[in-house]
């Protein structure tokens, strides 16, 4: 028997489509294969798998899933399970009920997508998917309509539900945290690691992916202040740098001025890194900690795109350094990089102040034929020696780490900071897009009375790297293709469209993704409702939600009820009477006319015969005998009311 499967499969396929990029290839093929067969088999009356074959296939799918995912039960595994089972669903559709379940399965797949994706284009697609699924839902309940009619009715329904959606969005308590553990596993993380080997950052620079976006609430700082601190490396082992687990900064808060207010929208990267403009202040935020190395850290791994309100000092003094920390930032392995150590001793002898040593080190790098390149030669042996005295070609990381080693050897506490520098200002949204190609490393030295001071040795070689980004400081043939710009014409417009789209995405992130429990609290406060604690807030939100939604939901009901009374008061009064008698245990069967009912009632309620007779007679006179007049109606209504009272 034809089950009209094609629309159902269409709804599921449309819902699952965005997942295809995430799902294992075999799962997508599995779906395509079974859905294709189901559609073709229904059209050509091919054999249909029996119940046991379906069970077998389901078990086989489960087995493959176990084999593929083993113990990793993340969102991807759940969606894969959903897809594998959805692929087999058409084979067990037997009737209307199964069709309804299949449609709800399609809705469920859409919901699953919401846990996986959060960018604007996918959300727009999911609206489309909901539209298609709703049209299919209409189709299976009213098969008469054309696809066009179904889609237009579905869009009407969706539009009508829009106010409800907005209210739910604003007021449904947004308790953060992973829902059923179904949050996504971050895709292709790039960023820093806890280690820094010379050569790491170059791989970052080649990627044009957006690292994060920054909105400045106050004035946008000058571009040579756009250093976003991410990670601090303090331990040098001779070849590379390592970040030491730091503790929260509890005392000796940095002093500073020129406070900048800004928001950072950070996509999920699955780690605890946080980026902030040098030098971040501690802002009251449950998710963030300010560490002793003046980086911000997240308390939990970042699994969803999030936005943070931050404040930073552009000019600051971090204060005194403990002996222990001073020693840690002076430590060098004894027998590595001998030439560099010799140069350090020379600098120490030549200059007596730390400032002098730093300036001397910078001028050494600035004057000895060093060149900035994204493709440095491989460094063998002691990498710092090899870089400072042989190759003399490298990028920020080489300069920063060699500089730090050099001044450490001369007795000035120094460390390497990894992060991002600069970014592209999007004119449509007035925000800064910091992409992975903005990754940068620089050095910090500690100077008495000034605290940690940022020194960017790259600027001694390639000052344009700071003012113009990577593209400005390397020759054109070294650039990855996508960075080539400046051409007018089509490419110019593509770039403009790209900027506009990015700006829309950014707005989306701020307004929708960034709408959190804290924003809800702000909303409540704006409404004059002060809440204490999350439970109180959640309760207040829910109460407010119901207060708003109940009238919306009740309105059509009340309206039809009132109009029914007005339109047909006689039937209404009679129905009330019948309802009352039904409560008394004497239900009117739908086939019963008034006289049959009268007989039945008189048998049951012999003592109230007269009242019953009067009501039924009035009803018959009004409803069937054509004696329609308002005094009779009032009499009937009165009798029915009084019947209850006694």
């Amino acid at each position: 028997m034809k089950q009209n499967l094609s629309p159902l499969i269409l709804a599921m396929a449309v819902a699952l489509l965005p997942q295809v990029i995430m799902l294992p290839v075999w799962v997508s093929l599995w779906c395509a294969c079974f859905w294709g067969y189901a559609v073709a088999a229904e059209r050509n009356s091919w054999p249909w798998p029996g119940r046991y074959v379906s069970y077998g296939l389901a078990l086989l799918g489960l087995f493959f899933l176990l084999l593929y995912f083993r113990k990793i039960l993340d969102g991807k595994a759940f969606v894969s399970l959903l897809a594998v089972m959805a692929a087999l669903k058409p084979f067990e559709v037997k009737g209307h009920r199964d069709r309804m379940i299949t449609v709800f399965l399609a809705y469920f797949i859409v919901i699953a997508s919401l846990f996986q994706f959060e960018n604007l284009s996918i959300i727009i697609y999911l609206f489309f998917s909901v539209l298609i699924t709703t049209a299919v839902l209409i189709h299976i309940n009213h098969p008469g309509g054309t696809p066009k009619q179904n889609v237009s009715l579905a869009s009407k329904i969706l539009l009508q539900s829009l106010p409800l959606m907005i209210v739910l969005f604003l007021l449904f308590p947004r308790i953060q945290g992973s829902f059923w553990g179904l949050t996504r596993s971050p895709l292709g993380i790039s960023g820093f690691s806890e280690r820094l080997q010379m050569g790491d950052v170059a791989t970052l620079i080649k990627s044009n992916e957006t690292a994060f976006r920054v909105y400045f609430t106050s004035e946008t700082p000058n571009e040579n202040h756009l250093y976003f601190r991410g990670v601090v490396f303090q331990h040098f082992n001779g070849t590379g740098w390592k970040s030491i687990p730091s503790q929260a900064l509890l005392r000796q808060m940095p002093q500073g001025k020129k406070i900048v207010d800004y928001e950072i929208i950070l996509p999920a990267h699955g780690r605890k890194w946080m980026f902030a403009l040098d030098l971040p202040l501690l802002t009251p935020n449950d998710d963030l900690m300010l560490m002793r190395d003046h980086t911000l850290r997240l308390r939990r791994n970042l699994r969803r795109k999030k936005h943070f309100r931050l404040k930073s000092y552009l000019s600051y003094n971090t204060g005194d350094l403990s002996h222990k920390e001073k020693m840690r930032n002076l430590a060098l392995p004894d027998n590595r990089n001998p030439k560099t150590q010799a140069l350090s001793r020379f600098l120490k002898d030549k200059y007596d102040t730390p400032e002098g040593i730093v300036a001397g080190a910078l001028s050494y790098i600035g004057e000895n034929g060093f060149a900035y390149t994204l493709k440095p030669p491989l460094l063998t042996g002691d990498p710092v020696d090899a870089f400072l005295f042989e190759s003399r070609k490298g990028f920020c990381e080489h300069f920063a780490s060699s500089f730090a080693v050099l001044v450490r050897g001369a007795g000035v506490p120094a460390r390497v900071v990894g992060g991002y520098l600069g970014g592209a200002l999007n004119p449509y949204g007035n925000y800064l897009v910091v992409s992975q190609s903005n990754a940068h490393a620089w050095a910090e030295v500690w100077i008495e009375n000034r605290g940690w001071v940022r020194v960017d040795p790259t600027s001694a070689v390639a000052p344009e790297r700071i003012s113009q980004g990577v593209a400005g400081s390397v020759s054109a043939d070294e650039l990855p293709a996508f960075l080539g710009y400046g051409q007018k014409g089509v490419r110019h417009y593509i770039k403009q469209v790209g900027l506009l789209w990015d700006a829309l995405n950014a707005r989306w992130d701020v307004w929708f993704m960034g709408y959190s429990f804290a924003e809800q609290r702000a909303l409540l406060e704006r409404l004059g409702l002060r809440v204490k604690g999350w439970f109180h807030q959640a309760r207040t939100l829910l109460v407010l939600l119901f207060v708003i939604i109940l009238p919306i939901a009740a309105f059509p009901l009340i309206r039809t009820h009132v109009s029914r009374i007005k339109k047909d008061p006689v039937t209404h009064a009679y129905n009330r009477f019948c309802a009352r008698m039904e409560k008394a245990g004497c239900k009117r069967r739908p086939s019963m006319g008034p006289m049959d009912y009268q007989k039945m009632l008189k048998r049951r309620f012999a003592e109230r015969q007269e009242e019953i007779d009067e009501i039924i007679t009035l009803y018959i006179r009004l409803q069937y005998a054509g004696e329609y007049d308002s005094s009779l109606i009032r009499r009937l209504q009165r009798r029915v009311r009084r019947f209850k009272a006694t």
Binding site: P590, S591, G593, P594, M595, D596, Y624, A625, G626
Partner: protein, 305 residues
């Protein structure tokens, strides 16, 4: 007050056809609604007796034809005969020129003869040899027929069946009624003893009064719901026609009037519905007819407003 003459007739006819008061009431409602009546059952159950008793009690002129397979239309309508005395053709009226025509065993007549009745029943006129002649007023056809399975029958086509407002079945008499029958309360004797307590004018005025019985909108709604249900529900092979709807309404009015009311109630519709429509619908499982129980589900499904 109105119920009295009616109950009187029921009483009278009930003396002849024992234990069948319900069928007698239905038959009377049909006749007062100006409809033709088809009585269907096995032979020997009292069909012809009922038909005779009805016509006698209404005090109308009565003719009877016994349908056979060699009967010709002329035998019903009449023929023109050449009269030597006047030298011209004179029309000799057939049995159809009467007030009550009893067509016994109508399904033994050939389709040709059956259809000769068609015009008479529908138009209340006959056309013979190019000349149209009106029939008497009132004019009723009471036909009886054997169940279709019996041999030597020509089943009435749907169009012919549709001309009958109502089709009733008599069924076996009850135990007590049969006892009285067996004791020999002779039908022949009682029939001749029956007194006609109505005249033609009484019948005419009753028919006119029935036309004034009030029908409310909500009742029409109920009737339309019922008709709609037969057209959309899967158990019906073919739904009811508007003519069937008119028939139900007309009979229900008559039923209400005979029960002393000047307005129609849903109960009236329910009482006559099956008998008016059962020969016009067929079930999708059994094309020959429609079991009465299925109409109970119809009334359960379609709520009284």
């Amino acid at each position: 007050m109105l119920a009295d003459p009616f109950e009187n007739i029921v009483e009278q006819v009930g003396k002849v056809v024992l234990g069948k008061k319900e069928q007698i009431r239905l038959a009377l409602a049909c006749l007062f609604a100006r409809g033709h009546l088809l009585i269907e059952d096995i032979p020997g159950i009292g069909k012809t007796t009922l038909a005779k008793a009805l016509s006698i009690s209404l005090g109308l002129e009565f003719q009877r034809i016994q349908c056979t397979s060699d009967m010709l239309p002329g035998d019903i309508l009449g023929v023109s005969v050449f009269e030597q005395k006047s030298g011209s053709f004179t029309f000799h009226k057939g049995p159809v020129f009467t007030q009550v025509l009893l067509a016994d065993e109508i399904n033994r007549a050939t389709p040709k003869t059956q259809s000769a009745l068609l015009e008479a029943m529908e138009e209340h006129q006959v056309t013979v040899e190019g000349q149209t002649r009106p029939l008497h007023d009132p004019f009723f056809v009471i036909a009886t027929q054997n169940p279709l399975e019996h041999s030597g029958t020509y089943p009435l086509p749907e169009s012919q069946l549709d001309r009958f407002l109502m089709r009733i079945e008599l069924g076996y008499p009850g135990r007590e009624a049969e006892r009285r029958l067996l004791k020999g309360e002779s039908t022949k004797k009682t029939l001749s003893e029956m007194n006609t307590n109505l005249t033609r004018d009484d019948v005419k005025s009753m028919q006119e009064n029935i036309g004034t019985v009030f029908v409310s909108d909500s009742l029409l709604e109920y009737l339309q719901d019922l008709l709609e249900f037969t057209r959309t529900a899967p158990h019906f092979h073919v739904g009811l026609s508007p003519r069937a709807g008119l028939g139900v309404l007309q009979t229900a009015k008559s039923w209400a009037f005979l029960h002393g009311r000047d307005h129609v109630l849903p109960e009236d519709i329910q009482a006559v519905f099956y008998w008016v429509v059962s020969h016009r619908v067929s079930s999708s499982e059994d094309l020959r007819g429609f079991p009465k129980e299925m109409f109970d589900t119809l009334f359960q499904e379609v709520a009284v407003p």
